[in-house]
Symmetry: C2
Subunit: 157 residues, 2 copies
Protein backbone atom coordinates (compact mmCIF):
# COMPACT_ATOMS: atom_id res chain seq x y z
CA UNK A 1 0.00 0.00 0.00
CA UNK A 2 1.23 3.54 -0.74
CA UNK A 3 2.39 5.42 2.32
CA UNK A 4 0.25 8.17 3.77
CA UNK A 5 3.42 10.23 3.99
CA UNK A 6 3.86 10.53 0.23
CA UNK A 7 0.91 11.98 -1.70
CA UNK A 8 1.05 11.13 -5.39
CA UNK A 9 1.31 14.05 -7.75
CA UNK A 10 -0.22 12.26 -10.68
CA UNK A 11 -3.64 11.82 -9.09
CA UNK A 12 -4.11 15.49 -8.28
CA UNK A 13 -5.59 16.04 -11.72
CA UNK A 14 -9.01 15.14 -13.11
CA UNK A 15 -7.66 12.41 -15.36
CA UNK A 16 -7.50 9.69 -12.73
CA UNK A 17 -8.50 6.12 -13.52
CA UNK A 18 -11.96 4.74 -12.75
CA UNK A 19 -10.37 1.47 -11.67
CA UNK A 20 -12.61 -1.59 -11.69
CA UNK A 21 -15.62 0.67 -12.18
CA UNK A 22 -14.68 1.19 -15.81
CA UNK A 23 -15.52 -2.38 -16.78
CA UNK A 24 -18.76 -2.58 -14.80
CA UNK A 25 -21.86 -2.32 -16.91
CA UNK A 26 -23.91 -1.15 -13.92
CA UNK A 27 -21.73 1.91 -13.44
CA UNK A 28 -22.03 3.04 -17.04
CA UNK A 29 -25.74 2.34 -17.04
CA UNK A 30 -26.11 4.55 -13.99
CA UNK A 31 -24.03 7.40 -15.40
CA UNK A 32 -25.58 7.32 -18.86
CA UNK A 33 -29.03 7.25 -17.31
CA UNK A 34 -28.15 10.30 -15.18
CA UNK A 35 -26.86 12.21 -18.21
CA UNK A 36 -30.08 11.35 -20.05
CA UNK A 37 -32.25 12.43 -17.13
CA UNK A 38 -30.48 15.79 -16.80
CA UNK A 39 -30.83 16.46 -20.51
CA UNK A 40 -34.48 15.38 -20.39
CA UNK A 41 -35.11 17.88 -17.60
CA UNK A 42 -33.50 20.64 -19.66
CA UNK A 43 -35.54 19.72 -22.74
CA UNK A 44 -38.82 19.83 -20.80
CA UNK A 45 -37.88 22.77 -18.59
CA UNK A 46 -40.75 25.12 -17.86
CA UNK A 47 -43.45 22.64 -18.94
CA UNK A 48 -43.78 20.95 -15.55
CA UNK A 49 -43.24 17.61 -17.27
CA UNK A 50 -40.94 15.05 -15.63
CA UNK A 51 -39.83 11.52 -16.52
CA UNK A 52 -42.41 9.77 -14.36
CA UNK A 53 -45.24 12.10 -15.42
CA UNK A 54 -44.44 11.61 -19.08
CA UNK A 55 -44.32 7.86 -18.56
CA UNK A 56 -47.83 7.91 -17.12
CA UNK A 57 -49.09 10.12 -19.97
CA UNK A 58 -47.65 7.71 -22.52
CA UNK A 59 -49.38 4.70 -20.92
CA UNK A 60 -52.69 6.52 -20.66
CA UNK A 61 -52.39 7.83 -24.21
CA UNK A 62 -51.75 4.34 -25.58
CA UNK A 63 -54.38 2.69 -23.35
CA UNK A 64 -57.28 5.06 -22.69
CA UNK A 65 -59.30 3.90 -19.69
CA UNK A 66 -56.36 2.04 -18.15
CA UNK A 67 -56.44 1.91 -14.38
CA UNK A 68 -53.96 3.52 -12.01
CA UNK A 69 -52.57 0.31 -10.53
CA UNK A 70 -51.86 -1.17 -13.94
CA UNK A 71 -49.94 1.93 -14.98
CA UNK A 72 -47.83 1.62 -11.85
CA UNK A 73 -47.12 -2.08 -12.33
CA UNK A 74 -46.03 -1.59 -15.92
CA UNK A 75 -43.81 1.37 -15.10
CA UNK A 76 -42.36 -0.35 -12.03
CA UNK A 77 -43.85 2.22 -9.65
CA UNK A 78 -45.47 1.02 -6.45
CA UNK A 79 -49.08 1.88 -5.62
CA UNK A 80 -48.06 4.24 -2.85
CA UNK A 81 -45.76 6.16 -5.17
CA UNK A 82 -48.39 6.57 -7.88
CA UNK A 83 -50.67 8.80 -5.83
CA UNK A 84 -48.66 12.02 -6.02
CA UNK A 85 -47.90 11.85 -9.78
CA UNK A 86 -51.54 11.10 -10.62
CA UNK A 87 -52.72 13.96 -8.41
CA UNK A 88 -50.23 16.24 -10.14
CA UNK A 89 -51.45 15.25 -13.61
CA UNK A 90 -55.08 15.74 -12.58
CA UNK A 91 -54.27 19.14 -11.07
CA UNK A 92 -52.39 20.09 -14.24
CA UNK A 93 -55.56 19.24 -16.14
CA UNK A 94 -53.80 16.60 -18.25
CA UNK A 95 -55.73 13.49 -17.23
CA UNK A 96 -59.29 12.68 -16.14
CA UNK A 97 -59.67 10.21 -13.28
CA UNK A 98 -62.93 8.52 -12.40
CA UNK A 99 -63.94 5.44 -10.46
CA UNK A 100 -64.40 2.25 -12.43
CA UNK A 101 -68.16 1.49 -12.29
CA UNK A 102 -67.34 -2.24 -12.36
CA UNK A 103 -64.86 -2.04 -9.44
CA UNK A 104 -65.44 1.01 -7.33
CA UNK A 105 -62.02 0.69 -5.64
CA UNK A 106 -60.24 1.42 -8.91
CA UNK A 107 -59.65 4.54 -11.00
CA UNK A 108 -59.83 4.75 -14.77
CA UNK A 109 -57.53 7.24 -16.43
CA UNK A 110 -57.86 9.11 -19.68
CA UNK A 111 -56.07 12.06 -21.31
CA UNK A 112 -57.87 15.38 -21.47
CA UNK A 113 -57.61 17.47 -24.62
CA UNK A 114 -54.88 19.46 -22.93
CA UNK A 115 -53.26 16.16 -21.96
CA UNK A 116 -53.12 15.06 -25.58
CA UNK A 117 -51.57 18.37 -26.61
CA UNK A 118 -49.03 18.26 -23.79
CA UNK A 119 -48.14 14.66 -24.58
CA UNK A 120 -47.58 15.48 -28.25
CA UNK A 121 -45.47 18.52 -27.45
CA UNK A 122 -43.43 16.64 -24.84
CA UNK A 123 -42.82 13.73 -27.19
CA UNK A 124 -41.56 16.11 -29.85
CA UNK A 125 -39.16 17.71 -27.37
CA UNK A 126 -38.00 14.36 -26.04
CA UNK A 127 -37.26 13.04 -29.52
CA UNK A 128 -35.20 16.14 -30.23
CA UNK A 129 -33.34 15.76 -26.95
CA UNK A 130 -32.62 12.09 -27.74
CA UNK A 131 -31.40 13.09 -31.17
CA UNK A 132 -29.00 15.51 -29.51
CA UNK A 133 -27.65 12.84 -27.18
CA UNK A 134 -27.60 9.75 -29.40
CA UNK A 135 -28.07 11.21 -32.85
CA UNK A 136 -24.72 9.84 -33.93
CA UNK A 137 -25.81 6.26 -33.24
CA UNK A 138 -26.81 4.27 -36.30
CA UNK A 139 -30.34 2.82 -36.40
CA UNK A 140 -28.79 -0.59 -35.82
CA UNK A 141 -26.89 0.61 -32.77
CA UNK A 142 -29.99 2.28 -31.41
CA UNK A 143 -32.14 -0.81 -31.89
CA UNK A 144 -29.50 -3.09 -30.43
CA UNK A 145 -29.23 -0.80 -27.43
CA UNK A 146 -32.99 -0.88 -26.83
CA UNK A 147 -32.98 -4.65 -27.28
CA UNK A 148 -30.13 -5.16 -24.80
CA UNK A 149 -31.67 -2.81 -22.26
CA UNK A 150 -35.00 -4.59 -22.66
CA UNK A 151 -33.34 -7.89 -21.88
CA UNK A 152 -31.96 -6.41 -18.66
CA UNK A 153 -35.34 -4.94 -17.71
CA UNK A 154 -37.05 -8.29 -18.10
CA UNK A 155 -34.56 -9.81 -15.64
CA UNK A 156 -36.19 -7.82 -12.86
CA UNK A 157 -36.85 -9.89 -9.73
Amino acid sequence: MASLQEPLDEVATDTASLGALDQLLGYHLRRASAVFAADFARALEGTGMRQVLFGVLSLVQANPGINQGTVGRILGIQRANMVAPINTLVEMGLIDRRTDPRDRRAFLLELTEKGVATFDDSLRRIREHEKGLVGDLTSDEREMMIDLLGRIERRER
Copy 2:
Protein backbone atom coordinates in the same frame (compact mmCIF):
# COMPACT_ATOMS: atom_id res chain seq x y z
CA MET B 1 -60.95 10.31 -27.90
CA ALA B 2 -62.64 7.39 -26.13
CA SER B 3 -65.64 8.36 -24.08
CA LEU B 4 -65.37 8.47 -20.31
CA GLN B 5 -68.68 6.61 -20.27
CA GLU B 6 -67.21 3.42 -21.76
CA PRO B 7 -64.22 1.91 -19.94
CA LEU B 8 -62.20 -0.38 -22.18
CA ASP B 9 -61.99 -3.97 -21.03
CA GLU B 10 -58.77 -4.71 -22.82
CA VAL B 11 -56.67 -2.30 -20.77
CA ALA B 12 -57.74 -3.64 -17.41
CA THR B 13 -54.93 -6.20 -17.60
CA ASP B 14 -51.19 -5.80 -17.10
CA THR B 15 -50.40 -6.30 -20.77
CA ALA B 16 -51.10 -2.75 -21.88
CA SER B 17 -48.89 -1.00 -24.41
CA LEU B 18 -46.07 1.34 -23.39
CA GLY B 19 -47.00 3.63 -26.26
CA ALA B 20 -44.30 6.02 -27.46
CA LEU B 21 -42.23 5.18 -24.39
CA ASP B 22 -41.28 1.85 -25.92
CA GLN B 23 -39.10 3.42 -28.59
CA LEU B 24 -37.43 5.96 -26.31
CA LEU B 25 -33.89 5.06 -25.34
CA GLY B 26 -34.08 7.22 -22.23
CA TYR B 27 -36.95 5.19 -20.81
CA HIS B 28 -35.18 1.87 -21.24
CA LEU B 29 -31.96 3.32 -19.86
CA ARG B 30 -33.83 4.46 -16.79
CA ARG B 31 -35.61 1.15 -16.25
CA ALA B 32 -32.56 -1.02 -16.86
CA SER B 33 -30.53 1.19 -14.53
CA ALA B 34 -33.18 0.79 -11.83
CA VAL B 35 -33.21 -3.00 -12.23
CA PHE B 36 -29.42 -3.00 -11.96
CA ALA B 37 -29.45 -0.79 -8.87
CA ALA B 38 -31.98 -2.99 -7.09
CA ASP B 39 -29.99 -6.12 -7.85
CA PHE B 40 -26.79 -4.36 -6.76
CA ALA B 41 -28.41 -3.53 -3.43
CA ARG B 42 -29.44 -7.16 -2.96
CA ALA B 43 -25.94 -8.41 -3.84
CA LEU B 44 -24.29 -6.07 -1.30
CA GLU B 45 -27.00 -6.37 1.33
CA GLY B 46 -25.69 -6.39 4.88
CA THR B 47 -22.27 -5.00 3.92
CA GLY B 48 -23.25 -1.34 4.17
CA MET B 49 -21.87 -0.85 0.67
CA ARG B 50 -23.87 1.26 -1.81
CA GLN B 51 -23.34 2.33 -5.42
CA VAL B 52 -21.86 5.73 -4.58
CA LEU B 53 -19.66 4.34 -1.78
CA PHE B 54 -18.31 1.61 -4.03
CA GLY B 55 -17.63 4.16 -6.74
CA VAL B 56 -15.52 6.20 -4.34
CA LEU B 57 -13.66 3.09 -3.14
CA SER B 58 -12.86 2.12 -6.73
CA LEU B 59 -11.39 5.55 -7.53
CA VAL B 60 -9.36 5.66 -4.33
CA GLN B 61 -8.16 2.10 -4.92
CA ALA B 62 -7.02 2.91 -8.45
CA ASN B 63 -5.57 6.32 -7.49
CA PRO B 64 -4.20 6.22 -3.95
CA GLY B 65 -3.76 9.75 -2.61
CA ILE B 66 -6.44 11.21 -4.91
CA ASN B 67 -8.24 14.19 -3.45
CA GLN B 68 -11.90 14.39 -2.54
CA GLY B 69 -12.89 16.99 -5.10
CA THR B 70 -11.32 15.05 -7.96
CA VAL B 71 -13.23 11.92 -6.98
CA GLY B 72 -16.45 13.92 -7.05
CA ARG B 73 -15.77 15.52 -10.40
CA ILE B 74 -14.96 12.19 -12.04
CA LEU B 75 -18.02 10.47 -10.58
CA GLY B 76 -20.29 13.41 -11.38
CA ILE B 77 -20.98 14.14 -7.73
CA GLN B 78 -20.96 17.74 -6.54
CA ARG B 79 -18.65 18.88 -3.74
CA ALA B 80 -21.53 19.36 -1.33
CA ASN B 81 -22.79 15.84 -1.95
CA MET B 82 -19.38 14.23 -1.39
CA VAL B 83 -19.16 15.13 2.29
CA ALA B 84 -21.60 12.54 3.65
CA PRO B 85 -20.28 9.56 1.62
CA ILE B 86 -16.67 10.35 2.57
CA ASN B 87 -17.63 10.70 6.24
CA THR B 88 -19.41 7.36 6.01
CA LEU B 89 -16.39 5.62 4.50
CA VAL B 90 -14.07 7.12 7.12
CA GLU B 91 -16.44 6.07 9.91
CA MET B 92 -16.65 2.57 8.42
CA GLY B 93 -12.85 2.49 8.62
CA LEU B 94 -12.49 1.93 4.88
CA ILE B 95 -10.55 5.05 3.88
CA ASP B 96 -8.01 7.35 5.51
CA ARG B 97 -8.46 11.08 4.96
CA ARG B 98 -5.77 13.64 5.67
CA THR B 99 -5.06 17.19 4.59
CA ASP B 100 -2.79 17.66 1.58
CA PRO B 101 0.43 19.26 2.93
CA ARG B 102 0.81 21.14 -0.37
CA ASP B 103 -2.73 22.55 -0.31
CA ARG B 104 -4.17 22.58 3.16
CA ARG B 105 -7.73 23.12 1.90
CA ALA B 106 -7.77 19.70 0.26
CA PHE B 107 -8.04 16.11 1.53
CA LEU B 108 -6.04 13.17 0.26
CA LEU B 109 -7.78 9.82 0.34
CA GLU B 110 -6.37 6.32 0.63
CA LEU B 111 -7.83 2.88 1.34
CA THR B 112 -7.19 1.31 4.71
CA GLU B 113 -6.39 -2.40 4.91
CA LYS B 114 -10.03 -3.02 5.74
CA GLY B 115 -10.94 -0.80 2.80
CA VAL B 116 -8.89 -2.97 0.44
CA ALA B 117 -10.56 -6.13 1.76
CA THR B 118 -14.04 -4.60 1.52
CA PHE B 119 -13.35 -3.35 -2.00
CA ASP B 120 -12.16 -6.80 -3.12
CA ASP B 121 -15.14 -8.54 -1.55
CA SER B 122 -17.61 -6.02 -2.98
CA LEU B 123 -16.09 -6.28 -6.44
CA ARG B 124 -16.43 -10.06 -6.33
CA ARG B 125 -20.10 -9.77 -5.35
CA ILE B 126 -20.78 -7.12 -7.97
CA ARG B 127 -19.23 -9.23 -10.73
CA GLU B 128 -21.42 -12.14 -9.72
CA HIS B 129 -24.49 -9.93 -9.65
CA GLU B 130 -23.64 -8.60 -13.14
CA LYS B 131 -23.16 -12.15 -14.35
CA GLY B 132 -26.64 -12.95 -13.08
CA LEU B 133 -28.17 -10.00 -14.90
CA VAL B 134 -26.21 -9.91 -18.15
CA GLY B 135 -24.45 -13.26 -18.15
CA ASP B 136 -26.24 -14.21 -21.34
CA LEU B 137 -24.70 -11.32 -23.25
CA THR B 138 -21.77 -12.21 -25.47
CA SER B 139 -18.45 -10.42 -24.84
CA ASP B 140 -19.07 -8.42 -27.99
CA GLU B 141 -22.50 -7.33 -26.84
CA ARG B 142 -21.15 -6.40 -23.44
CA GLU B 143 -18.30 -4.36 -24.89
CA MET B 144 -20.56 -2.65 -27.40
CA MET B 145 -22.93 -1.79 -24.59
CA ILE B 146 -20.18 -0.23 -22.49
CA ASP B 147 -18.90 1.62 -25.55
CA LEU B 148 -22.35 3.02 -26.42
CA LEU B 149 -23.04 4.01 -22.82
CA GLY B 150 -19.64 5.67 -22.64
CA ARG B 151 -20.47 7.74 -25.71
CA ILE B 152 -23.64 8.94 -24.00
CA GLU B 153 -21.78 9.75 -20.78
CA ARG B 154 -19.26 11.87 -22.62
CA ARG B 155 -22.11 13.95 -24.07
CA GLU B 156 -22.77 15.38 -20.63
CA ARG B 157 -23.22 19.14 -20.63
